[in-house]
Symmetry: D2
């Protein structure tokens, strides 16, 4: 993977400020972990009120943190003043989302002027190590000069 050069040296604080405005992340109990050029990790402890009918995390929960990780991974490389929007994503649920803690790793595969392609992977962590539970392939858009939209 090529190393990425951020277009805005303040990328770290911009990601953290935008993430703090995602009230959904607060509702889920998710927190930003790593923020690096082209790479963002989000951590989420298991909670019983985030589950589906079998007691595993709902796919919408693991998808939420994978989507935010992908979007902010793309955002680390965007120019000052840009806003980030998810265009689309595809998710494969690899294993039941059972574990104590989950981490979503968003990584930029290709950064274009308008569109950025990212992978997102969610791992369940417990005493035994980590298990791969979800993989995402996402397309993220850089939005510039659109009135009222900024990050």
């Amino acid at each position: 993977m090529a190393p990425f050069q951020p277009a805005d040296p303040a990328y770290d604080s911009r990601v953290r400020a935008s993430f703090a405005r995602q009230s959904m992340m607060k509702l889920l109990g998710a927190s930003l972990e790593q923020v690096a050029p082209g790479a963002v990790d989000i951590r989420l402890p298991f909670r019983a009120d985030l589950t589906q009918q079998h007691g595993f995390l709902h796919a919408g929960v693991t998808t939420s943190i994978a989507d935010s990780a992908c979007g902010y991974a793309a955002f680390t490389l965007m120019p000052p003043g840009a806003a980030v929007l998810t265009v689309e994503f595809k998710v494969n649920l690899i294993a039941p989302a059972a574990g104590e803690t989950f981490v979503a790793r968003g990584r930029v595969l290709k950064a274009g002027r308008t569109l950025t392609i990212c992978s997102g992977d969610v791992f369940a962590l417990d005493g035994d190590g980590e298990k791969h539970v979800l993989t995402m392939l996402a397309t993220v858009m850089t939005v510039q000069n659109r009135s009222g939209l900024s990050d």
Copy 2:
């Protein structure tokens, strides 16, 4: 669309009982609306704590209700004793998820013995009518005879 014949006449109560165990739906404030063979609708009122950084519903929220609507639409056609698992889905975010109420409509496109293909569409409702905000294409699995897994 072909009319579907449910394999279990008790499909309605089984869907409602399983949905009631999805604590994530309760956290989001989502409720089951229509349940019919091959078709399930889920309703969600807007709430500020479900949003992303621009004040729209987080993609993970609209994806959550679309995923549950697709999974339960498939589940209406499954035989007694089967459990439902989402294999994978792809989502396009068509418009910002702004509105007073949202409805996710899960519909079975093709029901197979093991795999069922569903579409899911989320609409934002307000005084002006409805706006299409998300479309999902999902693959759902019928799981039978797996110890400990039932719906």
Copy 3:
């Protein structure tokens, strides 16, 4: 579905001229059928040299005509001078691609300034009617003012 207003009154001849340059369509024996604002149909007769190991059309063949149908459906709505590029797509293979003739129907779901979302469906036709064999959800890009790229 909303009726679409083409931005270029010459959309029909532009689609046909661009399609004629897709040598892959000629190799497959595919032809343009319907061209309307937001809707393009492509027809393909079965041929034994287009098959996979079980004697059905290879998924790459049905995907090829679905992709071209989606791309050109989006292209019907693009302004003069624009070029069309597929960003991504997802395909579900609904049934084995067995039949005498196949038709791919590309339809615009949402036309944006930069990105257009399309559905693509492939049907197998024979004496008994039509069977749904593939469904595609695609994102297509309008490219303007990029040196050397036009349709």
Copy 4:
């Protein structure tokens, strides 16, 4: 990535025999390169009759070899007598498919009893090295005991 243990020691010859029956691969001029447990590479030289309107390989061509690479990567791990079917895939077109030769690398991410998840990546090769042009995320099915279907 975990090392995979093939369930059938004759996996290599079974993959090669099945690939030889895909007449579409012959039409495209594609050949099998690497065959290893959980990993299959397919090579394709550029040809002008495989292109779209801008002179790049048609997305259906790169998708075809990625799909076959994913399907056969999954097939290397299937038990004797099983047949392989692609359930669905999603593709991102990362860069224009320009080059002298293309290689599609199919890799198993997770092999389950019924479903296998694979990634597929297509690279364009020329004197300057390789360029990533397509990434695929695919779901492949192991079919057993279905009358008339074998590989």
